[in-house]
Amino acid sequence: MTAAERGEPPEAARAGFTADEMMTACAARALTDGMTCFVGIGLPSAAANLARATHAPNLVLIYESGTIGAKPGRLPLSIGDGVLAETADAVVSVPEIFNYWLQPGRIGVGFLGAAQIDRFGNINTTIIGTSYAGPKVRLPGAGGAPEIAASCRDVIVVVRQSRRSFVDRVDFVTSVGFGDGPGYRDRRGLTGAGPRKVITDLGVLEPDPASCELTLTGIYPGVAVPDVRARTGWDLVVSDSLEELAPPTAAELTALRQLQADNPSL
């Protein structure tokens, strides 16, 4: 049995940083300076703010509350915390943020979380179970995610990996990744390119250019491929050019811990 199957944290946790910190640093590195980024709350917000505090000081953070160019000095608990409005370049209404800013494809990357994600990068945040009317677990629902996933030029998903979260087929498609495979997004008129990276607490998955299936392309120090397979609910394809990703730097860890100082749960 591997460490992952026993539910133990991967090696990273024993090396001076947690798996979540590795994941957040990895997600932050996926953002480049000057990019525009539509940010979901939780892990995506932590990563986007870490990027802004380190290598991407001109990253433009956009939250669905209508705050454009927010520059929080600490992590907000919600998408509508006062610090976002007080530090934003512009604050617009909610109809405006979706219609004028997101919908035309003006925003570079959408940064989303997920409760479940499947092999084609479709996201479920609605229900767990087979019946919508009688769900086993009622999740919060869609929020801004369906249109973020449809209309941002690229999408990055940040999610902790387990057999429960990484499933062959999601119980409910809240936000579309690649649907049932190649060509789906075009057929459904989804203007953005869809998920570019799925960043987890074990490594990074990217869609195969031909099949659109999420394949393992990056892995964290101390994590082995069988650990990742053990926490994936489908027969995971591993890229021929699988790369070991660099651990978080001291600067990344310091910046992240400072951002989280007020809200350690984030």
């Binding site: 608990l77 629902g141 459904r188």
Partner: protein, 289 residues
Amino acid sequence: MAEIVSLAEAIAGAIDDGDAVAMEGFTHLIPFAAGHEVIRQRRRDLTLIRMTPDLIYDQLIGAGCASRLIFSWGGNPGVGSLHRFRDAVENGWPGPLQLEEHSHAGMANRYAAGASGVPFAILRGYSGTGLEGLPGLDGQPAVRPITCPFTGERLTAVAALNPDVAVIHAQRADRAGNVQLWGITGVQKEAVLGAQRSVVTVEEIVDQLAPQPGAVVLPSWVVDYVAEVPGGSHPSYALGFSARDNDYYQAWDEISRDRERFGRWLADQVLARAGSLARTGNVATGRRG
């Protein structure tokens, strides 16, 4: 023209059992005090409408005020689940709760259509999602495809929202009942303009509204009742007056998880407390008109 009344009078005058009520405020300016007054007045069988039900609707649902909910994101922001909402959906407690579920973009467009006096709005949205196939409260599809008459492009249509009542919290009103709010302004303007009746609670009533950057002003003649309720958006916040009480949002997870603990909270923190006594105008004797 808006009447300036007490909170209890405003709720009694505006909201009946069975009404469709939108209490809006996107994380900021959530009208909690007004929600508590609705609980105290024991309104029943409401259709609650709100993009993010948040703690305010968790409380109203747990208190048994709601039969139906129209929404787009039902979580405790940054914390996790809304346990009273989940208990209603998963276990039918304290009663069944019929859902109509949308995305934020869909809800925002529904409010905009309601404010604009047109029957529907169009957007690029829902396509390929499970939300496309869900029924509305009337059992018919809640969103429908539509073809652009100019380009032939396929888009999505969502029905206008025209609630019986909109309830919002704002920073200020003047003595004539003109309302001013700023910071994150959400969909409050659309909710008030799209509703048949409206109630606004405010942090303060002033002689004259000083201009504020980015402010929304709702003229007195589109508002029915204004009540002065300082702190009326706690544990949400009013920019310039208070900060979001994040500790309260985290504490709510514990309070709401258990039916009995929630019941004690309801008895102590809502039912045992009288509504606002800040009456500054004439008594409203009932619904206008």
